[in-house]
Every structure is written in C-alpha cells, then in structure tokens.
C-alpha cells in the first residue's frame, strides 16, 4: 500500500486525475456506443479517425485559425467523414455480418494511421491548446504542503463532458432526429416499417461518433502536450473498456464507465505502489475480462437474449 494513504491532498489529486482521464475515456466510449447502438458494429478505426480530426485541428491552428474555431471546423469535417465512411465503406457490407465490417474498419485503421504519418510525419507535434495550460493556470484548493490544485485543463475537460452529455441528451430525447435514432436503436425493422430513414440514422450515429472522437483526441493531445500518429491507440482500448463496463448500448453507461475506469486506473497504481511502470492497459484488460465474465451486458447495458 502507498504510504500516502492518509494524505487527503494525495487522494484528491488521484480523484481529480482519475476523473479527468475518465472523462476522455468516456468521450471515446460515447463514440463507440453511438455507433454500436444502431448498427451493432464496433468501429475499430474510431481512434485513428479521431487522431485524423485532431491533426486537422493542428493543421488549422498552424494556419493561424483560432483554436476553438479550428475545433468547430474539425468537428464538422469529422462528422461528414464519419457519415461518409458508414455510407461508402460499411453499408455495402452490412448484410454480410460482423466479420467483414470488423475487417473493413481494420483496413481503415491501417490506411488512416499510415496517411497521418505520411502527411504529418512520425514525430510528435505540439498539441493545439484549447484550454490554457501554463504552470499558473490552476485553482489552488489546499495550500499544503502537499498542495492540492485543479488545473484549468482538468476543469475544461470535465466541463466538456458535462456539456456534451446534456447536449446529447437534448439531441436524442428532445428532437425528432433523436427520436428516429432511438427508434432505429430499439428495433431496426419496426423503425423501417414506420418510415424512419434507417440508413440516414446509421450515418447520423457514425457522424456524431466521428465528431466526438475528434473532440476526445484534441483533448487527449492537450493533456499529453503532444500529438502523434499513434496518440489514440491505447485510448481506443480504454474507450472500449469503458464502453464494456458501462454497457455497449447505453449512453449514460459510457459516461459512467469512462469515469469509473479512469478512477480505477488512477487509484490502483496510486495506492498499490508495488505495481511498477505503466500497466494501465493491463488493468483495462482485466476490467474488460471481469465485466465480460461476470456481467457481459455491462452496468447499464441491455441483456441480449438469443433464441437458439
């Protein structure tokens, strides 16, 4: 056990750090879930598409565009790209089952990953900074020693997650578009019979997921300080783990799963100091295994019943 176990500042630091990382995982998990809910597919290229979006932000800021405007443009571009991928690459494979679609997203993974490296190089580039991240950009809570403070970046990321969740809730629950999306998620055939454009709802889900991923990648880059072509490789695993934990078809589940995973991954190495090095991927793997073996539908997911 850590010797700092009774130190409130240390524990609070772990808590905030865990929640901040968890919010990022939650964003990726939301993207995964929004794709899965309607199409029952997992987009394994989600992370690479997100990295591409973050590089679009980077390229725009290099041209002198204000960072939030650059993010807005990148979100629109990612939405269109995500929807386009669904329509052009995934839809024709829809009828052939899960495996060809998984392969197609893997192909997309390879292509996007290599294209990013070709265009922007394999060396990390400085990340765009939507939130101020100087050393004094923080709120001091406990003066200490040891001090406890919350950085603006952490606050900003948590605020983005909350705003996004509210926005998604409004979009899905209060608009006609959201109603159509939920109808397709609940029962594809019935929705089709009712005249809901099922295909457009698939594209909508993929588009929103693409935009969410881009936002996540931009924020991941900011917390890491740099952006490179492999930035999202492990974050995708964390996002998938978060989605598994929360339930693959549950939007609130993705958020809760992401935050919970963030906390687990902050507190386990923080308290059990005999764990050396960065084994966060292993922890994520264990979380996934435990969830799938104990409660395969996740915390908030719908249990699927199969008639055999």
């Amino acid at each position: 056990m850590s010797p700092n176990i009774d130190n409130p500042a240390f524990l609070l630091q772990l808590l905030v750090g865990g929640l901040t990382n968890g919010a990022l995982y939650a964003l990726v998990a939301l993207a995964v879930v929004l794709v899965y809910k309607t199409t029952s597919h997992i987009n394994l290229a989600q992370g690479e598409m997100a990295t591409l979006g973050a590089f679009v932000v980077f390229a725009l800021t290099q041209q002198g565009v204000q960072v939030w405007i650059a993010i807005a443009i990148a979100l629109v571009v990612s939405f269109v790209f995500g929807a386009g991928v669904e329509r052009g690459l995934i839809r024709p494979l829809e009828k052939r089952g899960i495996f060809p679609v998984v392969l197609a997203t893997l192909a997309l993974f390879l292509i996007i990953n290599a294209v990013i490296a070709i265009i922007w190089g394999t060396q990390p580039v400085p990340a765009p900074e939507p939130f101020p991240r100087e050393i004094e950009d923080k709120i001091d809570v406990l003066v200490g020693p040891p001090p406890f403070f919350i950085t603006y970046v952490a606050l900003g990321i948590l605020a983005v997650l909350v705003l996004l969740l509210v926005g998604l809730w409004l979009l899905l629950e209060k608009t006609k578009l959201g109603l159509g999306y939920r109808a397709v998620a609940a029962n594809r055939e019935a929705a089709e019979v009712m005249g809901i454009p099922v295909g457009r709802m698939f594209m909508f889900g993929w588009g929103i997921a693409g935009a969410l991923g881009t936002l996540a990648a931009a924020l991941v880059a900011e917390t890491a300080g740099t952006l490179d072509f492999n930035s999202m490789a492990s974050i995708l695993i964390f996002g998938l783990a978060a989605a598994t934990l929360g339930g693959f078809d549950s939007v609130p589940g993705a958020a809760v799963g992401g935050l919970a995973l963030g906390l687990i991954m902050a507190f386990v190495p923080g308290l059990f100091t005999f764990i050396e090095g960065d084994l966060s991927l292993v922890i994520a793997l264990i979380v996934v295994l435990v969830v799938l073996l104990v409660r395969p539908q996740g915390l908030f997911g719908t249990k699927t019943l199969e008639r055999v």
Binding site: H41, I42, I98, P100, L110, A117, G277, V282, V288, L292
Partner: protein, 421 residues
C-alpha cells in the same frame, strides 16, 4: 452410395463437360484415386525441388527474404486456423508472435540456448497464452472477443517495455537482440551458403507445420471447428463440445504464432515492441484474407505478400520524387496499400486468392470427392485445401439450420476413414 450412382454421376459430369465444349475440357479426377495421388505427388515434388534449388540459385539477400516469408507464413497459418476455420475473431496475433520471438531471443542471448531448443518452449508458451485467451472466448463471441483480443494485442508491446518486461530481459523499447548463426553441416551435398542452409531447415520445419495443420483441419477437431463456425447451434446439437474445440483452436493458433515468432528471429537478429505491435496483427489479418482465410495453403501467399509487398512498395515509392518528398519512411505507403488490398478483397474476393486459383485449376483439372460426384455441377468442387465455406464465412452470415442451398457438393459429412493425403 452405390456403384451405379457413381457411374451415373460420372456420366453426368462428362455430359456437363461436353455442354461446355468451347472450354478446354477439364480432366476429372476422383479424390483419393491413383491419378489424384500422382498429380499430388508431382506437385509436392516440384515444390520441394523449387525450395531446394532456391538457395543454390538466388542471392543470400533473397534467401533472407524467403526465410522471412516462411516465418510469417507459419504465423499467418495460425490465424487461418482460428479465424478462417473456426470463425473466431483474433486481433491479438501479434502478441502470440511476440511471445515466441521474445522467448527465443531471451533464451538464446541470456541463457545460451540453441535456437532449436527454444522452439518447443516458445510453442508451449504460445499454447498456454492462447489457451488463456481462448477460455474467455467460450462465453464471448463476435465483437466481445474482438475487444478482448484487441486489448491483448495492444497491451503486449507496451508491457514488454515496462519494468515487469525489463525484469524478464526484454530489453525494453530498444528491443532484444539475438545473434543466431548457422553453419552448413559437412554432410549436406548441395552447394548452398550458411544462410541457404538455414532457409532449408526453416522450410523443413514449416513444411512439417503445414502438414500438421492440413491434418488438423481434416481431423475430427478440424471438422468440428468448421461446423461450429458455420452453425454453432447445429454443431452443438450434433454432439460437438464447443468449449473444447474453441480453446483448442485458439491454443493451436497461438502456438503457430509463437513458432512463427521464433523463426522470425532467425531472419532478423532483433525483436522490439514495434515488431510485435498492433500493426503487425493487422498485417497478419490482411495476409490471411489475401491468401484465403479458410485455407491452409493461403498462408504461403499471405507470407509472400507480407515480405514482398512492402519491399517493392518502398522501392517504387523511392523512385517517385513526389512520394519520396512526402516522408522518409516509404514503408508507410505499404501500409496504405495493405489497407486498400484488404478492402478490395473483402468486397470482391472474400474467399482469398487460393479458392480463386483453385477455380482456375478446375478448368484443366477437376478433383471430385467420390461422394460428391453425384451432385457436382457447374460449381467448383472443393479444393485439396478448402474445407467448408471457402471464405471462412466472410461472404455472408451463417445459414440457418438446413445449410447453404448452394453448398450441397460438400454437404455430405465425411467420415473419419476419409483418405488423408
């Protein structure tokens, strides 16, 4: 099936051939017959001759490349077994490959083992890890399995560079070097270099492994794998125990991956986290689809593609000034091409190249299983290496109980006494 039926079916086949008179009429050979054996023997002999002559005729550099082809082919074969034949998505094959490579590297460099002595241990470790991954696979299918194996595949290269990996001697991010030198023994008559001798040994090992894999997919376990893939429920009703078959498939697949990794070290004296990263897994998957997921011989084509596609792409990209100006790593263009090839194959050639080549061969030589001769029509009969769906279910969802309507030529359940080659 009675004699009479056989004769009738042969007559039907013959008339079928006459109707397609414009084509070169194909020779029809009954599977397992004497002439079939002769054809096969000739083919094997030719292949052996090519392998033997290769180190005599081509340069050491080329031999290095062909050795790499062998190592990759063995690893791809493992993926074929678990994904193509038993229909389970495995996105962690790079980790299995890495287990083998690291085991060999550490044992050779730190403990002074001979290469050949490390291979069995690498195989056993691969079996154990594959079994460990296969156990959760029992309760999970489809996408959940993808998530688990993906996590294994992404976590492995990270773990080897962590303190826990360093303690085992993985050498961290820089990788682990292992210099394995081979001397041609005096009794070997052919005029080959030491590297050529190594290539021949690798070819012999790989030949054995491919032969074993062929036996496996034709065995009771192999046919159970295919049955579970095509219709799990029906297979279970027919008395197949899914738990056993699925874990065996995963374990054997991982074992092939690990042996492939061990062999890889013979061709390349270093293994690092980037050689066993997720990209390698993706290349394995592409190679599998390219050659033919549900074939054994497709793994060769996959291995060839894994070596020569990046090589020639880099050469080609280096010649075009515009492409050369884009990046200093021409290998990246190969990854783009891999991705494009994968998409093209999923869309247009879901069965892979081997079934395509088999169909081409049937224009000249048709091999018909005796029990299928009655129903063999225009459809290409099963090749020597294809069992069940030629594409491992890539082309579509599994049929309901009752089977594929177009699938009758191979529908009859073969018995254990079926002749193996």
């Amino acid at each position: 099936m009675s004699e009479l039926d056989d004769e009738r079916s042969m007559a039907a086949l013959a008339s079928d051939e006459r109707q397609r008179g414009a084509l070169v009429s194909a020779r029809v050979v009954l599977e397992g017959s004497r002439s079939h054996r002769v054809w096969q023997g000739t083919g094997l002999l030719l292949a052996a001759l090519v392998v033997l002559l290769l180190p005599v005729l081509v340069s050491d550099f080329r031999i290095g490349q062909f050795s790499l082809v062998i190592a990759y082919s063995v690893a791809v074969l493992g993926l074929n077994l678990v994904t193509g034949f038993s229909g389970q998505i495995s996105l962690g094959h790079g980790a299995f490959f890495g287990i083998g490579a690291y085991t060999t590297a550490i044992l050779v460099t730190d403990h002074g083992w001979a290469w050949a002595a490390t291979v069995p241990l690498a195989a056993v470790l691969g079996l154990a890890l594959g079994f460990a991954v296969g156990v959760p696979a029992l309760r999970l299918h489809g996408l959940y399995l993808a998530v688990i194996t993906l996590a294994v595949g992404v976590a492995f290269p990270v773990v080897v560079s962590q303190p826990i990996g360093l303690a085992l001697g993985t050498g961290g991010v820089a990788g682990k070097t292992a210099r394995i030198s081979w001397d041609k023994p005096g009794w070997f008559g052919l005029d080959v270099s030491d590297r050529g001798w190594m290539f021949l040994v690798m070819a012999a090992v790989a030949g054995l492994l491919f032969w074993l894999a062929t036996g496996l997919v034709r065995s009771r376990v192999g046919r159970s794998m295919v049955a579970l893939r095509d219709n799990g429920t029906a297979a279970a009703i027919s008395g197949i125990w899914p738990a056993e078959v699925k874990t065996v498939a995963f374990a054997v697949s991982a074992m092939y991956g690990a042996i492939g990794g061990s062999m890889y070290l013979l061709t390349t004296p270093i293994v690092s986290p980037s050689t066993v990263g997720f990209t390698v897994t993706l290349l394995f998957i592409t190679a599998m689809v390219l050659g033919g997921a549900a074939t054994v011989s497709g793994a060769w084509i996959g291995g060839l593609a894994m070596v020569f596609l990046p090589y020639y792409t880099a050469e080609w990209a280096g010649q075009i000034p515009f492409l050369r100006s884009l990046t200093d790593q021409p290998g990246l263009f190969a990854n783009v091409i891999y991705g494009v090839v994968l998409i093209v194959f999923i869309y247009f050639v879901p069965g892979g190249l081997v079934p395509l080549l088999t169909r081409l061969r049937t224009r000249f030589l048709r091999i018909v299983p005796p029990e299928a001769a009655a129903v063999a029509t225009d459809a290409a009969p099963g090749s020597a290496t294809t069992a069940g769906e030629p594409d491992g279910g890539l082309a579509g969802p599994t049929p309901a109980i009752g089977g594929h309507p177009t699938h009758s030529p191979e529908a009859p359940i073969r018995t254990d006494q079926e002749t193996t080659r």
